[in-house]
């Protein structure tokens, strides 16, 4: 089998083994969406919980958490991830785990800041007077107030996660082989670019378009929910 140019039966052409590029891109979308949603979801849930607790209780817990977040932020993320993946072995769950690792600190910072401002509001004091427990105040009174900010960070962070996943797959440490992956498609086919440019062009174009859509959606959502969040 060999590369085939675009035709009616293969709209975007075929790769070096004669497989249809369009089908691979569609199949790759499924895995990418699974990985990204799971990673962002895990990161956001962990980050929100830690941010909520840290902001609500303050004190030494808060200090320690914030120092860890600061430290995490000044480390080169992709390099650390690369090392972790190679040690733990390549796998779908490892990938989701390491991608979640880079998405939680952002959520912690924002949720904590929002919690700090919400917990001094009068309705929280009133809830306390009415005898509500800490857990109840956090879940029933503060969490609904931070949900918006959480959704905005999750949407805006999605693009970054997709790009990181693609870079990892490109370097050979992302989605493991039998599953099709956009990043790996580009990496496998790049040796043939002078003969078959379409094999590298289209998967990358798809990544760029998905990331762009994510960014647009995030921007739109941010302006919609709260125009004062412009700086995010």
């Amino acid at each position: 089998m060999d590369h085939e140019d675009a035709s009616i039966s293969y709209v975007l052409g075929t790769d070096a083994l004669g497989r249809d590029i369009l089908s691979k891109i569609i199949a790759g979308a499924r895995v990418t969406v699974l990985v990204v949603v799971a990673a962002v979801g895990t990161g956001i849930i962990v980050g929100t919980t830690i941010g909520l607790v840290s902001g609500f209780f303050g004190g030494i817990v808060d200090d320690v958490v914030m120092r860890i977040v600061d430290a995490w932020n000044i480390l080169p993320g992709l390099l650390i991830i690369l090392v972790v993946v190679l040690v733990l072995g390549q796998g779908l769950w490892t990938l989701i785990g390491v991608l979640a690792m880079i998405s939680w600190p952002g959520a912690v910072r924002l949720v904590r800041a929002e919690t700090l401002s919400l917990k001094s509001r009068e309705y929280v004091s009133l809830a306390r007077v009415a005898g509500a427990s800490n857990t109840r105040i956090m879940i029933r009174h503060i969490l609904p107030g931070v949900v918006n900010i959480v959704i905005v960070t999750a949407t805006l962070g999605t693009g970054n996660i997709i790009l990181t996943e693609a870079a990892l797959s490109f370097l050979g440490a992302g989605i493991p082989p039998p599953e099709p992956s956009w990043g790996r498609m580009i990496s496998e086919e790049r040796q043939y670019i002078d003969a078959a440019w379409w094999t590298s062009l289209f998967p990358g174009l798809v990544i760029a378009m998905v990331v762009m859509s994510g960014n647009f959606l995030g921007d739109w959502f941010r302006d919609r929910v709260d125009p004062t969040l412009r700086q995010l």
Binding site: R67, D70, A71, I74, L75, P76, G77, L78, L79, I80, L82, V83, V84, L86, V87, G159, L163, A166, A167, F170, L171, G183, I186, S187, R190, I193, D194, W197, S200, L201, P203, G204, I207, A208, M209, V211, M212, N215, R230, Q231
Partner: protein, 318 residues
């Protein structure tokens, strides 16, 4: 201010230490480094040879001791030998540092020269064609995967148009400012600088828009001050603070990008050294390169904090 800086410095050092421990621990979890000496399908090693190598590499001691010994050596500038070729890691990193620095500095300058002016133009001429063009450049730069940009650039400028060479950092015997060598730098620098340029562009644009909206700018214009002077003297000076401090963090992001770009362009830098070490399970090289990269990362962040403190006296140091 001073206490703030000292605290930041101590924090940076602790972070660096934590990172080295993490990486060192992980690289040892990956498997017995001695097995790498036994060539696959070969004859294996005699027990004496194993013994001798263990002692040489300090593998017979507890992990904590191995780490401390390694750390002590690193602090005195001795990164040890690589497992694969048994040459000095320091020498290797030193050889590879210059190409990486060249690439990073070129991309950084490019990012500023592209990001800041385009950001200002796009804010001042809001809604115009140049605004849309600039914003498109920013959007694509933030969304396109860096390795794909590299490959598409190669396809267009090296394969189709045949304008620029690709594959190495160019001949060694000519200085980098000559075209013979410089032309090798053009594509990698653009690929690496585009993303950061996009980030700077967006930051500059939103900062400029905010300042142009403020009352003192309206006043300056009402007084009849030349519009160009208002833009560059009144607005730009205030708006540039935020993007300028962020640019240090932008510089740090090159660390990540460089790994990918250096791989594609076969650029003989530290990033390539690192990915090679990862595949070879060569832990002295791996820990040292990650350490070097992390140190650069932490240092630039520290610089950004300092720069911010100097440029913006209103900031609270607590």
């Amino acid at each position: 201010m001073r206490r703030y800086l000292i605290r930041k410095l101590i924090f940076a050092i602790i972070t660096l230490l934590a990172a080295t421990m993490f990486v060192f621990g992980l690289s040892r979890m990956a498997g017995d480094p001695l097995l790498l000496f036994a060539k696959p399908g070969g004859y294996g090693m005699s027990p004496e040879r194993v013994e001798q190598l263990s002692q040489k590499l300090g593998l017979d001691k507890p992990l904590v001791v191995q780490y401390l010994v390694w750390l002590g050596r690193v602090l005195t500038g001795d990164f040890g030998d690589t497992i694969v070729s048994e040459t000095s890691v320091r020498k290797l990193i030193w050889e590879r540092a210059a190409p990486t620095m060249q690439l990073a500095v070129a991309s950084f300058i490019l990012a500023i020269l592209m990001g800041v002016p385009l950001g200002v133009i796009s804010a001042v001429k809001r809604g115009s064609l140049s605004d849309y063009v600039s914003r498109t450049i920013a959007l694509v730069g933030q969304a396109a995967p860096i390795f794909w940009v590299c490959i598409m650039a190669i396809l267009l400028f090296a394969v189709t148009l045949d304008w620029l060479p690709v594959g190495t950092a160019g001949p060694d015997d000519v200085p980098f400012w000559t075209w013979a060598k410089f032309k090798y730098l053009v594509m990698p620098a653009f690929a690496l600088g585009w993303g950061p340029a996009a980030a700077l562009l967006r930051l500059t644009r939103s900062a400029m828009l905010e300042v142009l909206d403020s009352e003192y700018v309206t006043l300056a214009r009402a007084k009849g001050t030349n519009y160009k002077i208002v833009i560059w003297k009144h607005a730009f000076r205030n708006a540039i603070l935020q993007p300028l401090t962020t640019s240090a963090i932008v510089l740090a992001s090159f660390v990540t990008g460089a790994v990918v770009v250096e791989r594609i362009f076969a650029w003989p830098g530290v990033g390539q050294l690192m990915t090679d070490a990862v595949w070879n399970n060569d832990f002295p090289t791996l820990t040292s390169t990650v350490l070097v990269f992390t140190a650069i990362f932490v240092a630039t962040n520290f610089l950004a904090d300092m720069l911010y403190g100097v440029l913006n006296p209103v900031i609270r140091y607590d």
